[in-house]
Amino acid sequence: MVLFEDVAVRYGAGRNILENISFSLAPGSFHFLVGASGAGKSSLLKLMYLAMPPAVGLIDMFGRNVATLRRQDLPALRRRIGVVFQDFRLIQHLSALDNVALPLRIAGHRESDIRKHVTELLAWVGLADHLQDLPATLSGGQQQRLAIARAVISRPSLLLADEPTGNVDDGIGLRLMYLFEELNKMGTTVVIATHNDHLVSRFSHRQLRIEQGTVRAFDPGVAPRPSRPQNSPAANDVG
């Protein structure tokens, strides 16, 4: 599904903020991306949702080498990826319903099907009474649920979530995690970036831990392994 080999992340002409990143994600796997604040979790997610190219290295998404993709090839891959942004990135002048419907409209689905599915999903995340409300009129927690709904509405192959439970209470947070697990059971590969240790320990899934500018993988319940040569993807296979 996803393969990173010797990837480095750099903004502009500055130093690498992450380097020697090598790991792979098998289809249907579930991962927590953990690390201290500012470690580079969001930057790693940016590489995964194709918002920026790597400074060096190979990224293979759904069997396609990202470096060889033409501009017109990117949208098709992005439609297979659902993203929950840390800052939500809702379109402020569109209603809750239109925000969630956006991926389906871009993909060309029929309007009648769109309304039905979007209404059901918004009801599931507790926003049934806010279909026509603008994002600015919703609370932080409601906006977060709206952003999650938009990310999952098209049943993506890969779901990336950046701190998805950061603005909700524990009850809603647990509910959202169950939603992610349901999607995972249906085959979606899930990566959740979080610094919520309680969540990580409660849902024992594999971890991608960002430490000292690189990424290391850990199975649940296993102590962190000593660092090994970082050039081998096998060292960090988490499939």
Partner: protein, 325 residues
């Protein structure tokens, strides 16, 4: 895609709000120039048709001969002209009529001026007949020395050349206006791309193609341009209608009789420049009539400008969007 729905709030942009007025003004100018071009075309056709089948014979006055001889020579000249194949009529302009035609140039006291006005004969011919003017003039000169026959061809050619130059200028100005309209759309579209960059980025990240984004700018440009184009065209038709009405009221009738021939009076003026200028100033009656094709062309103008704006917006987005995202 539903063309009425837009994920980008383009209609709220200040630049977009001004676009229909700017394009409406440009369409107004274009429609005026196209309308004037059509009027000039009809004017040229009217002049050519009006002067077809008309000649002017000028018989200079010889002060050394008596009135009877002068009268005999005039009658002989008229007989010669009317006997010529293709001539359908000949009328001598009375002195009073001649003075009336010359009054705009020589003043109200033209009848008191010590100027020997030539005798002018207005000749009507079959427009399809081919008359040898040189031969006719030669035979007339044998009767009255110095007589001339004129079909006003030189003046008409000068006037038509002037009109065609105006038409070319109008066409060039229309092209300039269309180029200005395209440049305006390019500017507004690029501004929109920059202003809405955050939303465009979200659309891309959710899987939108560049052409999905372009379609939204296209639809918006088409809508506002059509509105502006309709307003501009209607205002231009109103202006042209008022202009035609005013000119028709001021125009001098042509073809109602030899006495109305301005060319006849113009012949008496000293220089060719004066003749051309007078011919234009006291021009023929403007029988402006827009044919169904003309109306169709004017009605198509707003649609054409809307299509131009739509295609320009699409081209601009597809060329520029890679800088945004």
């Amino acid at each position: 895609m539903n063309w009425r729905r837009s994920d980008l709030p383009l209609q709220a942009d200040p630049a977009t709000r001004f676009l229909p007025w700017i394009l409406g003004f440009l369409v107004y100018l274009s429609a005026l120039m196209i309308g004037c071009g059509l009027m000039i075309e009809q004017m040229a056709e009217s002049w050519q048709a009006g002067l077809a089948g008309n000649l002017t014979v000028e018989l200079p006055i010889d002060p050394g001969i008596d009135a009877k001889t002068r009268g005999d020579r005039l009658n002989a000249a008229i007989d010669l002209v009317t006997a010529t194949a293709g001539v359908t009529g000949a009328t001598v302009l009375e002195q009073a009529e001649l003075e009336r035609l010359l009054r705009p140039w020589l003043g109200d006291n033209v009848d008191q001026l010590d100027v020997a006005l030539p005798t002018m004969i207005a000749v009507t011919t079959d427009p399809k007949a081919v008359i040898d003017l040189a031969d006719l003039q030669q035979r007339l000169a044998a009767i009255v020395a110095g007589s001339r026959v004129d079909n006003h061809g030189d003046w008409v050619n000068d006037a038509l050349h002037f009109l065609h130059t105006l038409q070319a200028l109008a066409a060039f100005l229309v092209l300039l206006v269309l180029a200005a309209a395209a440049a305006t759309v390019i500017f507004v579209t690029r501004t929109g791309l920059a202003v809405h960059q955050p939303v465009i980025e979200i659309l891309h990240l959710v899987g939108a193609q560049d052409r999905y984004i372009a379609r939204q700018f296209q639809a918006q440009s088409f809508r506002v341009s059509l509105i502006g184009g309709i307003i501009g065209t209607l205002l231009a038709l109103g202006t042209l209608g008022g202009l035609a009405f005013t000119l028709n009221r001021r125009g001098i009738g042509f073809g109602e009789g030899a006495h109305d021939l301005p060319g006849t009076a113009v012949q008496a003026l000293p220089t060719a420049t004066d003749r051309l200028g007078s011919f234009l100033v006291h021009s023929l009656r403007f029988g402006i009539e827009l044919t169904p094709w003309h109306w169709l062309a004017m009605a198509a103008l707003p649609v054409m400008i809307a299509v131009l704006a739509m295609l320009t917006a699409r081209w601009t987005v597809l060329r520029s969007i890679h800088r945004v995202m």
